[in-house]
């Protein structure tokens, strides 16, 4: 089978949840003997990275290509650049614009991309296309429809419903969906009404045209079903690579020292500032906080975080971690915290922690509350409430032994393996291809 993956951004620039998912699945498919390719938007800032090899275009022979740092690129159209390269054995096609369209991050059409999209799919002739994320790639999806190529789509955030991705209103409260645009008008008046209703219509088209719509969490599926009642959404949970997992089998006694763990990017809506704020206010010399991850674009927020923690030696910023270190890191901590302020859909770090037998504290919103039940395999606190989080932390610190029963419960449930997820997706691909032929 030839499988093409459509996504809005990719390695080596970005490596958040959606990108990881597409890379893992593409990798698995390649290992099974399928041909794969990823097509994505990119801003080409990474070109000085020597890890990847850059090719100059479709007709390459061994002598024409050079190792990284090539500056050659094809211009496929007046405003469009297209490059091809390999990332860890996966072929990637990346496109970029000379002049960025205004609606790059919330629109569905892009006149510059029309011809290139058509040519791309005509040349590649995939059997099935898997849309990892429809942002910036609406034109590609349209080209699929025109050429009768079947596609399936995995929803990983709320972008199809909400131009902000995360369903947070202008006043940073959780929103439950656009309600055909009524909610948007009320809570986020900065978006013109016409644009919202157009978006919703386009989103419906994208979903209706897919052979299958998939979601990794029931929660996200429910939010979408509320808005689009006729669309069927099936659940396939994300799998994790068990090769990297190491079980944390510590047993806790009273007065044991505790290390809390946060892993993820530094963005406001991930709520790290809430955690640091609460942690620094608890005075106990046997607790520590290890923060893994790095700052996003918001430098001010980064500085704020560093400032909040500067006088507390128990808080450590440990930098970024690679996928291979996950097991080792989780083995060395006691409790993972996911204090996100939005409907986090399928936080990878939450599942990796559970797979390593580490209890998790999360906000009681979205996909997080689906997975963590208070007192059973972790604790939940009211989303955004510092007081509530503080109470939870203090309860654990007072008596670490309560973690032991949590760990027993966690042992009884298994997070799916990446191979199982890939198996389910392969079946979806086959089913979609067959339904086309008949």
């Amino acid at each position: 089978m030839k499988v093409i993956y459509i996504i809005h951004q990719f390695y080596p620039e970005y490596y958040t949840g959606t990108e990881k998912f597409v890379l893992s699945i593409a990798n698995m498919m390649q290992r099974l003997g399928n041909r794969v390719r990823v097509i994505t938007y990119s801003s080409y800032d990474y070109l000085s990275d020597t890890d990847i090899s850059v090719t100059t275009g479709p007709d390459t022979t061994g002598s024409d290509t050079t190792r990284s740092n090539t500056t050659g690129s094809d211009t496929a159209g007046e405003n469009l650049f297209v490059r091809e390269f390999l990332y860890k054995g996966i072929p990637v096609t990346a496109f970029n614009y000379k002049k960025l369209p205004e609606d790059l991050n919330y629109g569905f059409t892009s006149p510059d991309l029309v011809k290139a999209a058509y040519d791309f799919f005509k040349k590649e002739k995939p059997d099935i296309v898997h849309v990892g994320h429809p942002m910036r790639t609406g034109e590609l999806i349209k080209a699929l429809k025109l050429q009768g190529i079947p596609y399936i789509i995995t929803l990983t955030d709320f972008w199809l419903l909400c131009p902000k991705h995360i369903l947070l209103t202008a006043s940073e409260n959780l929103c439950s969906g656009p309600e055909k645009g009524k909610a948007c008008k009320k809570f986020c008046p900065e978006f013109p009404g016409g644009m919202i209703s157009q978006r919703i219509k386009s989103a419906k088209d994208v979903l209706a045209g897919a052979k299958r719509v998939l979601s990794p969490s029931r929660f996200l599926a429910d939010i979408f079903k509320k808005e689009f009642k006729d669309i069927n959404i099936e659940i396939i949970n994300h799998g994790i690579s068990y090769g990297r997992i190491e079980k944390n089998s510590k047993i806790y006694k009273k007065d044991d020292s505790l290390t809390f763990f946060y892993g993820g990017s530094f963005n406001r809506f991930k709520g790290l500032h809430l955690l640091i704020d609460v942690f620094t206010k608890i005075s106990s010399d046997r607790i520590f906080l290890k923060i893994y991850g790095s700052g996003g674009a918001d430098k001010e927020y980064n500085l704020l975080l560093k400032k909040m923690a500067e006088n507390d030696a128990r808080v450590q910023f440990c930098g970024v971690f690679s996928e291979d270190q996950v097991g080792r890191i989780l083995k060395s901590v006691d409790v993972a915290v996911v204090p996100s302020l939005w409907y986090e859909n399928y936080p990878l770090v939450l599942h990796e922690a559970l797979a390593c037998n580490v209890p998790v504290i999360t906000s009681d919103a979205g996909g997080m509350a689906e997975k963590i039940k208070n007192g059973v395999n972790g604790f939940t606190f009211q989303v955004g409430s510092a007081d509530h989080l503080k109470k939870v932390l203090e309860a654990i610190i007072d008596d670490p032994q309560i973690l032991n029963s949590l760990k027993e419960n966690i042992k009884n449930h298994m997070i799916p393996a990446i191979e199982q997820e890939a198996y389910a997706y392969e079946r979806e691909y086959k089913r979609a291809v067959l339904s086309c032929v008949s």
């Binding site: 698995m28 290509t65 390999l86 025109l146 298994m414 389910a424």
Partner: protein, 904 residues
Amino acid sequence: MSKYFQKIDLNETSSVPAKIINLVGKDKRVVEFGCASGYMSKVLKEKCNCEVIGLEINKEDAKIAEAFCKKVITGDIEDLKWHKELEGSNLDVAVFADILEHLKFPEAVLRKTKDILDKDGYILVSVPNIANISIRLELLLGSFEYEKLGILDNTHLKYFTLKSIVNLIETAGFYVDSVDYVVKDLSVSIIKETLKLLDLTPTGKTINSFNKIDATAYQFIVKAFNQKQKQKVVEKVFNEQIPHIYSIDRQIADFKHKRSEREKHIKNLEDDRIEREKHIKNLEKIRAEYVQHVENLEKERAERKRHINNLEKVRFEYAQHVENLEHERVEREKYIHQECENFAVEKKLREKIIKGHEEEISCLQAGLAEKREQSELLKRQLDGKEVILEKLLNSKSWKLTAPLRWLLLNSRKLEQKLKAFCFLSLQYLKIKKSGLFDAEYYLKHNSDVAESGMNPLAHYIKFGAKEGRLAGRSAQSIIEPEYAEKVFYPERGAQIAENDTVSVIIPTLNGGKDFFSLLHSFKRQKGIKKIEMIVVDSGSADNTLALAKDFGAETVTIPSEKFSHSFARNIGAERASGRYLLFVTQDILPSSDFWLYEMLRALKNSDAVAVSCAEFFREDVDLFYRISSWNHHRIMGFDNGDRILSMPESESYLELRKNAQLSDIACLVSNEIFKKYKFRNDYAEDLDFGLRLIKDGYKLAFLNSTKIIHSHNRPPYYYLKRALVDNLTLKKIFPEFQVPFVGTDGFAGDIVFTFDIVSRLVREDLNSLVLPCTTETLIDTVDKRLKSALLSSYTPFKRMYDCNYIDSDFRTFLKNIFTGLQVGKKGYDGILVHAMRGFMQIAGHYIDNSYDLIDEHILEEFNACIYKAYAYQLGAHLAYCYLVTPASKRQKIEKFVNELTIGI
């Protein structure tokens, strides 16, 4: 002392003498009328360096004054003696300090004074002020009293007001230059009090008038110039200034003229400006209108452009659509044409077949005729036999021995029945005693038993246990908490059958991290009535057994030296109570919650008695495994669709191998069937089992529609051993397997040579590839090296380079082969390079299917794969060598083979 003596302080501002002396100035020639004792003259002389001529009526005073004056003329001023003496003296200043009021005719004196003064000279006169407020008030009260000193000095003859003294002096021909005064006034309250005495209340105006100088002054000091002089000065000044004045007048006239002109001009400009402003306003209006117009045109233009864009898009879409339709049409035409051709071909083929069949039929008919004849013969024979038999059955001896025969035939049956009865009753007693059987529960959950009225325990012992019915509440609950991870979306319509019980048998040795996931995934399997797990462990040192127990699996431990693949599985099968047995290895993972259900359904829906399935690789699968697996499936014909396998017509190795396919990685078989055959052999027990089944007419199934997650990522040493054992066993099981000839002489040399080639390929050729490169380039590079190897000569072995693609066991093994090797110089005549070439062709095919371009990542895997392939080929050919070498010459190779066969 004169009564008029005063001490004079020149700084005293209210002192008249001081004022007068200051007015005199310095270095002047002064005449002091009435100098008294010369107290003023003294100061004038000493402090102001003046020359003073004094005039005094009093002789004593005059005498005193002589000390300070140049000369003193005694006598009455009004006698004018002085006039004769001083006329034409051109004196600078004449001082009349409080003198004039003492004279009868002050005006006359003043007139005469003119003659003694210089033309620029001046007089200084001080007189008391009769109109002083105090005097006025006294007078109002009717009082006018002379005093010794003061304004009403009893020697005063004349009284002056400001007006009158100025008048007097001017009349005398002088010009008054300045008037100074010394104040002595009264407070307002005293004024008011005094007036009150007369019943007068003063108004503000009244008080103000009393504050004027003419009322408040006590004395006046007047400086006056010689009038003529003043006139002369004035005239001089006038004459000097006249031209200036005239010119200034002219200038003023000019300026006035210019000013009026300019004012006119300004007015004109103003008018002009107003005009222009009006004009500008008009132009502004027009401009605004134009701007508006332009805006409208712009809007219209944008609209039209958008419209054009839309039309373009539509047009483009239509063009695409048309192209697609065209394309489709062409395709369909091709297809139709192809189909016609195919039909024609097939028609011919079928005609041929029909012809063949016709011929066959005629042959068969001929055969049939023959057989008919034969059967006629046999029938006649049979008739004969029947007659004999009839005779026998009716004989006496037969009838007599009837009971004996019955006993013989049925004794076995009776024995069995007796045994079973004893066994069952024993069981019954045992179970009843133990109290583990819950009769109520059993009857409640099995209505058919309740209906039949049979004793529940008897039923259970006889039928229920075998059918997997539960004896009580001890079964594990399958209810999952609602937050459990949904591993996959459920298949619809999974129907649980009452007798779908499966026993899962897993031989284990250090199951490791993945064992937990395996046990868990089995726990979650849906659609099966009951799953029982049986773990057969041969000495795990990790937590394998503990985990198994945690998950409620039954565990059996066997000593590690007793382990063999068949023995362990058979032991497990003995404990199994399920209707079906599932044999798996410890490194598998069910691919979904319905995997087992799908396997079972396939088994039940087909007439196969055993089923296995294809593999779905793990994330860390190595490239060698992928290629081998792909190739294996391709050759076996298992790469597509589900297969039913049965005994082939041709008993060639390949056909048998294909159809005997059963894999112990995951193999589901009916318990009943298994019991009859069981596993045997140390190795490839699954293939052997499959072969025996199909030879006895059973069918097997191999599934691609469902897969088990399994793959290997092993070092070269593993593949070496694997290949050796695989090929040794294959020969055992499939005697028809053609073993290629590999001679012992020169085999070692071949091994070394090929290793060298492989190392060079990886270290030199592939390392110097410019990446990324096409798959073609990669394959060509490999082929080039291997081809050239075929034309090279053996060279003495130098050394084995370190590389991280070889594990230490493999390195040790190779070193043992390499040491002490003598190689002569001759052309390559070995087999391993050919074998590598063969593999590389397959590898090339696989890589071409999966990749377009090769980067460092893929190349890394490829390098590792090459070494593994080498190890595999080495193992396989070692097996061949062993198999074709007669036992007497095997010693050397036996050593290696024995070492390698341990532990597989």
